[in-house]
């Protein structure tokens, strides 16, 4: 989805007219009456779908059906269906989004809990190794989980330096790998810059040293084409580009060939063999379900299934192409019209996910001003405004107008009216 120079709003509208995914916007709830899309000049432009994705129009009815029919009427009898839901949702994610095989992905728990489970399992699978490698700019919860596991096991966390804007350089990873490294934890798409790591090359490099890579796909799933056939372990969230709803259950991936040798630390009954026999001893079930723990969250997983189905229908190739085109447009317009901001993401769309960050010393003030002008980005400490134009419902004209509003704010110094420091979110 390459495009020529966009010099006017009308140029952006022409890109929308040619967008093969344009129709998917109507599959989501807008901000107008009854969830229609308000396309007027004062409309909200939501560029934070990589923090919390929008609500698919099909979700309320799907959730209501599960609540009212399956729970309200079916009661315990519905468990015959529900017991397979986490695996079915995982298989759908595997096929439509992650490039994994059936039986390799499970929807369960939160990303942080899944990261803990697979990190512990991965470290156990590399006995005698006492180092976990983690990026110096990894997402906080990942760093925290890694630090906690390392502390408890007496392991060392070795940080791989990353360029905060450009992401991981393979040579930097090579420099920290040796035969002490058990697991490398790394986001495929960096949460701050959007930098896209090379899944195949990183995994291959780690394997040369006998280490496992545990990928965090939170910002990648649903925004870039992922081919987990080259990967060993992964986790990720479903409430960003997969539009699964606030706090939606996360997913985990374990390569089929590794499943039998991996055991997770939280031995819950949903990971046990012949669970309802309730035998005296825990024996992990065969397959990816051995990484399940407690009773699965049926209502919330239903919302995940809807989001995954829409993504699958649109197709990851088309979604990723539009993500590159939208962020290309944003970069191009920022170059032209926002000289006060510095691009803090890879310039080459092939090396980033579907979000870009712009650096400015008053980033927090700009974020507040943008929200008051109807543009919703995200602020990343200390000095970046992050824009995530979701390919399924963001138009090129939305990017045009967002940049327009930001240029107006800067021209009028409107952002200086806002507090310079962020108070604690409560």
């Amino acid at each position: 989805m390459q495009h020529g120079p966009v010099r006017t709003r009308s140029d952006a509208q022409q890109l929308d007219a040619a967008d093969p995914l344009a129709g998917f916007r109507e599959r989501f709830t807008g901000d107008g009456p009854d969830g229609t899309w308000d396309d007027g000049p004062g409309r909200r432009i939501y560029l934070d779908g990589n923090s919390l994705g929008r609500l698919p129009r099909a979700t309320p009815a799907a959730v209501a059906r599960v609540v009212e029919q399956e729970w309200g009427r079916g009661l315990v009898g519905s468990w015959s269906d529900w017991v397979g839901q986490a695996g079915r949702a995982g298989d759908a994610l595997a096929a439509g989004v992650l490039g994994a095989r059936p039986g390799e992905v499970l929807v369960s728990d939160s990303t942080s809990v899944n990261l803990f489970k697979l990190l512990e399992a991965g470290v156990d699978a590399r006995p005698g190794r006492d180092v976990v490698v983690c990026s110096a700019d990894e997402f906080p919860t990942d760093r925290y989980v890694v630090a906690g596991v390392a502390r408890r096991r007496g392991m060392t966390v070795r940080e791989v330096p990353v360029d905060v804007d450009q992401g991981l350089v393979l040579d930097d990873l090579a420099a920290v790998l040796d035969d002490r490294v058990a697991v490398v934890v790394l986001s495929l798409v960096a949460y701050r810059s959007g930098a896209l790591a090379d899944l195949v090359a990183v995994t291959a490099l780690a394997r040369e040293h006998g280490a496992l890579v545990l990928w965090d796909l939170s910002h990648a799933a649903g925004s870039v084409e992922v081919d987990l056939s080259a990967a060993d372990l992964a986790v990720g969230c479903t409430y960003k580009h997969l539009n699964g709803g606030p706090g939606a259950p996360a997913f985990l991936y374990v390569r089929r060939e590794l499943q039998a040798e991996l055991r997770q630390p939280i031995q819950g009954w949903f990971g046990a063999s012949d669970q309802f026999a309730m035998g005296p001893d825990y024996e992990p079930v065969d397959g990816v379900e051995r990484f399940a723990v407690g009773t699965p969250p049926v209502l919330a997983t239903t919302a995940v299934e809807v989001g995954v189905a829409i993504t699958t229908e649109a197709g990851m190739a088309a979604i990723a192409a539009k993500g590159r085109a939208l962020t290309d447009l944003l970069v191009e317009l920022a170059d032209d019209r926002l000289p006060q901001l510095r691009l803090a993401s890879p310039r080459d769309a092939a090396h980033r996910g579907a979000h870009v960050s712009l650096e400015h010393p008053q980033a927090w003030q700009l974020t507040q001003a943008l929200v008051d002008h109807g543009v919703v980005p995200d602020f990343r400490t200390p000095d970046r405004v992050r824009f995530g134009p979701a390919p399924l419902y963001t138009r090129f004209v939305d990017v045009w107008d967002a940049v327009d509003r930001l240029a107006e704010i800067l021209a009028a110094d409107d952002h200086l009216r806002y507090p310079a420091t962020r108070s604690r979110v409560t």
Copy 2:
């Protein structure tokens, strides 16, 4: 709520007429058209609310509001509310159901994950001790989690024998306690027999030996009066007597005075101090939120809040009294009319929760026949039929009719038509 002998169906109906909680039945969805209650002779009699509680009538609208308004319209802006939801739901549980103080209960994760977190934290708080005590008939996931933690830490699991029907004898616990014991894991209401342990006495006994008791309240929360002011640690589920829905998030309790010294093993960002500062190092936040891990499940927690509110409104004293009266009636009618079955629960209602089990060599066949006759109990291996008449929506006449149908099945040997062994649930 004592009652005289119930010799006729009409006697049971008179108990319903005098039941102060009778009106709460209308707060739940029944099996008739549009969720009304079908009170006809062929109606379904659901006695498995201690496996999955019924759907409160208020839940679909509450969930729809969060989905459509808070998520669909509010988008990321709603996090200002959502970020406190787990603690608010916990405080509501603490006040209305658990007898705990504000800031001691958190709704999060699954029961199994919470058990893991608090068990690890509890063991860490008792350095030098290498034994975890667990009941020999503890619920499987609890035994599995305990075994997993013990295996990974090189600890020993010491089983305390329990009478499968009558529950824990305090002297048996005393016999296994010594200064090697770090934590005792025990259900307050036993999942099989319904036997109610003595929270105060058990906790006091364990404290004498310097050990912590980690209570599993899954079958107790919403069925018996709980006073956690005497307890140190607890977890439990919300999809049974609290009617939170299939796979609803669970809860955890940590006594206020213990919170500062306990650290949990899964260092996720929602347990971190000043979370959105996303600082480089994990520092647990003050208070019970330090036992949170990942992004909390907003939709599912909303359903929990509805269930907890109904329970609070009805009042645990009244609910527990009706639970005793319903199970007393069941025991009394079983004595009279089901001589083939043996009571496998404490006979004294003061020593049990709101369910009772009856033993029969063909328990699995009886369970299948009951379901076909519209009575939904639960089967517990190898030879028990478990009846959980939920006080909020089960009537005395339902218990009468359930026993009636079971007596008819037995008289006609109707159950012998069913498979004698249970095939694996898939």
